[in-house]
């Protein structure tokens, strides 16, 4: 990995986390990617919810190969990556229902990323849709990417789970930068209160400032797009949630523009050794 320590196309790696399941993390990841793709960015979405993967269903694709196949000798990223839209919206699926593969250990990750590193630089953004919880794969991937989006909902249990993810990543792996998205918000005030509460807890108990990327409002078009297996932004580009996601995408784009110089100097993924 050290050979790729220079990142000429300033590819930004982003992990999308949630702590709690069912907060709309996968759907948000997919739509953010789609929005950025529509803004002429080259995107790779990687399903890293290993063992319980769902991005393929949301995209309406039936992959023949997946992430785990990269562990096989001779299988290359081009054999596994699926072009979802022409000209730069690619998807790398993971396997579902294979409990042994739930956690990729250090060696497994090394093999997978050893192959992926050759292609990551072709994209502007690489999005990792991580599973819920605080398993080893989630923690290590979250600490490898250059940006972390934490998805919460106004539901208190989503807040406590999201907070637990932050606390573990900070105190165990020294990660201190998080951007929060409040999903399924009833209104902007509720979203702001939700973020303020999480931020307040991080400030008081962890002495940590977290960033607020924005909110996505509850929208009846979301479940409909899921049912139709089409990205929401493609299905209903004018709806409230789509507009929210577009705003988030614009902010992420600004972030990358600001980080551009520093990104070039760093590898796309931070090399870590952990479990």
């Amino acid at each position: 990995m050290s050979h790729d320590s220079v990142n000429p196309s300033s590819t930004l790696s982003i992990s999308i986390l949630s702590g709690k399941g069912g907060v709309g993390k996968t759907n948000l990841a997919l739509n953010l990617a789609y929005a950025l793709y529509k803004a002429n960015h080259k995107m790779l979405v990687m399903d890293f919810d290993v063992g319980l993967a769902n991005v393929d269903v949301l995209l309406g694709v039936s992959p023949e190969k997946n992430l785990q196949d990269l562990l096989q000798p001779g299988v290359m990223p081009s054999d596994v990556v699926i072009p979802v839209e022409p000209g730069g919206f690619d998807f790398l699926p993971a396997a579902s229902g294979v409990p042994e593969l739930l956690e990729l250990d250090e060696d497994g990750r090394d093999q997978v990323f050893g192959k992926l590193n050759t292609v990551l630089g072709e994209y502007d953004y690489v999005l990792f849709d991580l599973g819920a919880g605080i398993g080893k794969t989630v923690l290590s991937l979250a600490s490898m990417t250059r940006m972390r989006l934490l998805v919460v909902t106004p539901e208190p249990t989503s807040l406590t789970d999201g907070y637990a993810v932050i606390k573990v990543l900070k105190n165990q792996l020294g990660i201190k930068d998080f951007l929060v998205v409040v999903n399924q918000a009833g209104n902007s005030k509720e979203a702001q209160t939700t973020f303020d509460r999480l931020h307040g807890a991080c400030k008081r108990f962890l002495d940590l400032d977290i960033g607020y990327l924005g909110a996505v409002h509850t929208d009846p078009n979301v479940p409909e797009a899921v049912r139709r297996q089409i990205p929401l932004i493609k299905y209903a580009p004018q709806c409230r949630a789509s507009q929210d996601i577009l705003s988030l995408a614009i902010k992420i784009g600004r972030h990358r523009a600001e980080l551009r110089t520093s990104l070039k100097a760093k590898s796309i993924l931070k090399k870590i050794t952990h479990g």
């Binding site: 208190p156 606390k167 573990v168």
Partner: protein, 289 residues
């Protein structure tokens, strides 16, 4: 290797004088209270020239007096037979330092050394390690009523059951008079207990036939089981103590059974990442309450 102090005395020592001297030496060493061949690395090899003594005579003295720890080298002539004998003795001593002579199992020393290594491995690689300490029930009564040779037969039978039960990479040791240990790398509490139940069952069913005893001797075992998940660093003493306490519980609960020690790794919650009640409360209700 001992280095002979070839200091030729001008006067030959009569045999009697040597024996007196050895007796005095023994008393002197005893007064210093310790002398063993347990190789802690410290200690001295003491040499003395016994003029006139032949190898044949020395062999005789060795076998009659059980002086296995004494080594001899010739003052002159061909040292080959003597060196061969020293080599044999060293090999025997090396074996003795690790094995229990009665049962052939590892001894306490081998057990502690092995367990220390396995605890280190478990901690470094965050893997599971289990330890069972087994103690024969009512062994004193067997010794008293059937005699010590029969007691020895019983110990050998239990050792045989242990050897037959253990996996290739487990260590079985006799760590006390009627106390045995089984070190099981990679086994968790549940797996180790299932195996131990089978072992106890085998021992229960295995009747020991002793010379001169009409009835075969029935014997049972109690066991204390400890386990680590490799997440906390444990000393040999602490791990053995956990298994010992569990063994005590098994005895107190009526013998012929297994008791489990608490898993130390699960007792210590990682405080650094634990989300406390007050943090949850804050997230639920905000800072005002």
């Amino acid at each position: 290797m001992p280095e002979n102090n070839h200091e030729h005395s001008p006067f030959p020592h009569p045999r009697r004088e040597i024996l007196d001297e050895i007796t005095r030496l023994r008393e002197a060493i005893q007064s210093k209270s310790r002398c063993s061949v347990n190789s802690s690395g410290e200690g001295l090899i003491i040499t003395r020239l016994c003029e006139g003594l032949t190898l044949a005579e020395w062999e005789e003295i060795l076998s009659e007096g059980q002086f296995h720890h004494w080594l001899a080298l010739p003052a002159s002539g061909d040292p080959t037979p003597h060196l061969a004998r020293i080599q044999r003795t060293l090999e025997e001593l090396a074996h003795q330092t690790r094995h229990d002579p009665l049962t052939g199992l590892g001894n306490r020393r081998a057990f502690e050394k092995h367990l220390k290594m396995e605890l280190e491995r478990a901690y470094r690689s965050a893997t599971t390690l289990s330890l069972a300490i087994l103690d024969l029930d009512n062994f004193k009564a067997i010794n008293d009523s059937k005699g010590h040779p029969c007691g020895d037969q019983v110990l050998k039978a239990v050792a045989g059951a242990l050897l037959g039960h253990k996996r290739l990479y487990d260590l079985a040791a006799r760590i006390g008079g009627e106390e045995f240990a089984l070190v099981m790398p990679g086994s968790g509490l549940v797996q180790a207990e299932t195996g131990l139940e089978r072992l106890l069952e085998q021992i229960r069913e295995r009747k020991v036939v002793c010379d001169g005893q009409a009835e075969p001797v029935a014997v049972t075992c109690s066991a204390g089981l400890a386990c680590t998940k490799g997440r906390v660093q444990l000393s040999v003493e602490r791990f053995v103590d956990l298994a010992d306490k569990a063994l005590y519980e098994a005895k107190a609960a009526g013998k012929d059974r297994i008791a489990r020690a608490p898993i130390p790794d699960l007792l210590e919650t990682p405080q650094a990442t634990l989300v406390h009640a007050q943090e949850k409360q804050f997230l639920f209700t905000g800072p005002d309450t």
